[in-house]
Every structure is written in C-alpha cells, then in structure tokens.
Symmetry: C2
Subunit: 172 residues, 2 copies
C-alpha cells in the first residue's frame, strides 16, 4: 500500500491538504485514499483537468476510473470542485479555492490547448439582465473563449478556428 498520510512537500500557496480533507469530513463524507489522492493532485494544478488526465497523473492503482468519476460528482456536489466544458466531449475539473477568483472563465488555445484564466467576469451583470428580461430565476451561465495563442500564431500553423475538431480543443 501507499504512504498513509503525506501532508508535506509541494505547497505553493494552496490550501493545505489537511484543510481539504477536513472539509470532506465535516460534510460527513469519508476521507479515503482515492479522495485524498485526487485532492492532492488538484491542489497542484491551476487549470482544469479531464478525468482521464487526473487518472493518468495519479500513481497507478491510486484510484480506479469509476471511483474517480464518482468522486468528482461528490466533490462537485459539495462545491469543492467546479466543472468546465470546453466542448470537446470531456468534462474538466478545477479545485475550488476558498479565496476570491471563485467564478472565472477560460481562454483556450484551439491549437495547443493552452489555457489562460479570465478572472473578471463581465457576464454577471448580463446574467441579471437576461433573467429580468425573460422572467427566469436562479440564472447561471457558461462562457468560454477559444482562439489561437501567441506561440501558435508564430508557429505559422494554418489554423482556422475550430474547424470540426470535436475530440481535442485543437486538431494539431
């Protein structure tokens, strides 16, 4: 088996792993090895990851893919992770950091899949406007931007927007 309680190393300004697990416990959810591994990994990444990426990044045997999916549902339901959809058919997840920066969007390079975070959300006001105009309640929105990043522009690739690439943000 694996080290039971690694609470040291890699800690770049992120919430301590212990705090994360205690959040789990407080909501009467069990703190299991797979869940700890997932949270520990997500702490390291500032950009959303697909379940496949998460699964590949975890030590082999740390967490079954089915368990991973179940865990992400659980964490999403608890508000500990946020789900993003870049339109390529695979959900992406990001750890919800307690601080500000909570609500944000992304700018995804359709060429190299590089991701930039867009912090200021201009859509909040629009949300209210839209809700009022149509009588809807509890309105939320999904907004993501796609384009070609500076590096890829230089690379000289002939990238017309999204083309029909469904599998990857980029078809390179």
């Amino acid at each position: 088996m694996k080290k039971p309680a690694q609470s040291h190393d890699h800690d770049h300004a992120a919430e301590p792993l212990a705090d994360l697990t205690s959040r789990l416990r407080q909501k009467s959810q069990r703190v299991t090895a797979p869940r700890q591994a997932i949270l520990a990994l997500l702490r390291e990444h500032r950009h959303p990851m697909t379940n496949k990426e998460i699964h590949a990044a975890l030590a082999k045997g740390d967490c079954d893919l089915a368990t991973l999916y179940r865990s992400m549902h659980l964490l999403e339901g608890m508000g500990m992770v946020k789900r993003f959809d870049f339109g390529d058919g695979a959900a992406r997840f990001e750890l919800v950091t307690g601080d500000a920066h909570a609500h944000h969007h992304h700018l995804v390079c359709t060429c190299c899949a590089d991701i930039v975070e867009i912090d200021d959300c201009f859509a909040a006001e629009l949300e209210a406007r839209v809700a009022a105009a149509h009588g809807f309640k509890t309105v939320t929105h999904k907004l993501e931007f796609f384009g070609v990043c500076p590096d890829c522009q230089q690379a000289g690739h002939s990238h017309d927007k999204a083309k029909r690439s469904r599998r990857k943000p980029c078809g390179c």
Copy 2:
C-alpha cells in the same frame, strides 16, 4: 420513395428549401434525399435540435443516424448550421439563416428545457477585449445561460439550479 420536390406548404418566413439546396449544390455537394429532409426539417424549427430529435422527427427511413451525423458535420463545415452545446452531452444544431440574428445565445430552462433566444450579443466586445489582453487571435466564444423559466417557477418544483443532472438540461 417520397415526393421528389415538395417546395410548397409550411413556409413561415424562412428561406425557401430550394435556396438551401442550391447552396449545397453551389459548394459542389450533392443534393440527396436525406440532406433535403434534414434541411426541410431544420427550416421548421427555430430552436436548436439534437441529432436524436432530428432523427426522430424525420419520417422513418428518411435518414440513417450515421448519415445524419455525417450531414451535420458537412453542413456545419459549410456554415449552413451552427452547433450549440448545452452541456448535457448532446450537440444541438440550428439552421443558419442568412439574415441578421446570425450570432446569438440561448437561455435554457433547467426545469422544462424551454429555450429562449438571446439576440443581442454583448460578448462580442468582450471577445476583442480578451483577445487583446492575452495576444490571442481569431477569438470566438461559447456562452449559454441556464435558469428556471416563469412557468416552472409557478409549478412549485423545488429546483436548485442544475444539481448534478448531466443528461438533460432538466432533471424533472
């Protein structure tokens, strides 16, 4: 087989079917029965439809599901239909009408899946702002709103936003 050139009936201010098929022909694509059936059906609907819905709406035998998927790719590539993603795992398509109203978003009821079109796109300016701020080129965006429509609010259902319903915009 079916009537070869029905260019009459149902015609509420939409582009004539003949014009649509000629657009196909001009791009050196063949005008086949399945494609005509698809275009004819899409002309009737102002809201985006999933391939399953389109397939179900077409007369049995009019178009195989595989052909439907291939056709939608073709039409999307030609710019004759636009693809929308409501985050429920199924792509939706809408006929691109030559007129204005080209670029628009939707407000989807998470309860009854009712759809309202949002014509004014405030995001266009944001797109430019985002592109400039990060050096990206050919930036596009995907933006959809979700909420509970007036009718569903009355129905008294206890609908907290999207919950974890992935399959349908609504989990009613």
